[in-house]
């Protein structure tokens, strides 16, 4: 996922985060059925609307923190924070996905910054927001770095993606790190 280096690409395109609804299904299918988008994700490319509706209804809608990423009122991706329990409850895991058409425009960086600036207030017990990125996914690594995350380690054979165990880079931002100037 390449990011534009030139700052003059900042149009006033309205980017917002909203709760997901079943009516987002057609927009959802745009990114969920795209192999380029699912390549570094733990989920496999969706092949049917039934499968997608099941995910929206039974995973996304009841999720503790899940939003669709909207550009000019159109859903173009999603972003979520998954909490942990017990002795792991000080950390939450960030994940996001963006339709290919919207790559390289700074959308991902912007929405990650939006989440960072609000999640620690919404979840006061949260100390650490972390993200695990495939070692080959340079684009997402850059997004997190630009959003202020610290690269902590490469975890060897940490997750299975498309049937093969992958090295994952772990990034984190702490409630004490984050800047409120996004």
């Amino acid at each position: 996922m390449a990011e534009n280096t030139t700052e003059n690409h900042k149009r006033s395109s309205k980017i917002s985060l909203r709760p997901i609804q079943l009516s987002h299904i057609d927009d959802f299918m745009v990114w969920a059925t795209d192999d380029r988008v699912s390549q570094y994700c733990i989920w496999d490319t969706y092949t049917s609307k039934v499968q997608a509706l099941d995910f929206i209804k039974n995973n996304a809608m009841p999720h503790p923190w899940f939003r669709v990423i909207c550009v000019e009122n159109r859903a173009v991706g999603s972003i979520s924070v998954s909490p942990n329990s017990g002795n792991d409850s000080c950390r939450g895991e960030l994940g996001y996905v963006l339709a290919y058409e919207h790559w390289g425009k700074g959308v991902a960086t912007k929405v990650v910054k939006m989440v960072v600036s609000s999640i620690f207030r919404e979840w006061p017990h949260l100390e650490r927001l972390e993200a695990y990125v495939d070692a080959n996914n340079k684009g997402s690594q850059r997004v997190l770095e630009k959003a202020g995350f610290i690269r902590e380690a490469v975890l060897r054979k940490h997750r299975i993606i498309k049937g093969i165990s992958r090295d994952m880079v772990v990034f984190s931002i702490l409630s004490s790190d984050q800047h409120l100037d996004s």
């Binding site: 733990i42 017990g86 002795n87 792991d88 409850s89 000080c90 950390r91 100390e127 650490r128 972390e130 610290i150 902590e152 380690a153 490469v154 975890l155 060897r156 054979k157 940490h158 997750r159 299975i160 993606i161 165990s165 772990v170 984190s172 702490l174």
Partner: protein, 175 residues
Amino acid sequence: MERHSDSDITIRPLDISDSEDFINLYADEKVRKFSSRDAFTSKEAAIEYFMSTDIPHPWIRAICLSGRPVGSISVSPFYGTEKCRAELGYVVASDCWGRGIATAAVKMAAKAVFVDWGHLERLEAVVDVENPGSQRVMEKVGFKREGVLRKYYLLKGRPRDAVIFSLLSTDDPLS
């Protein structure tokens, strides 16, 4: 510093008769310092925990010195897209520290669990930054120190930085 021959140190499955030794193990303040286990309010509570959590654990062994239980070592699996990895944890009675017991037990457990779980590719350990003893054990066994995870977990309610180590089924110490 006494060292024992590795043949004195063995690991074996738990038995319900180990409950007394387990209670004493976790009653040890030094052992509890970096353990997620809180002190039990009663012997009954400790036995209940041993029976309900330790005995049925997916992979747990008693660490024995000349046949006497002095600690325990366990490997906790992950599931789904994370099933390629599992997390190692262990405790050794504090009066047995400094004798190479943990190092020997971790070596034996690592070899055994990769045999038992053919799908396992990564064994990892999360060690508190202020626990240099256990960090040294991991290094001696041949785990790779991958980095420090900041405010990763809660210990006695406080967020702690932890060093993450890993050993792969393909790593040298196991071949």
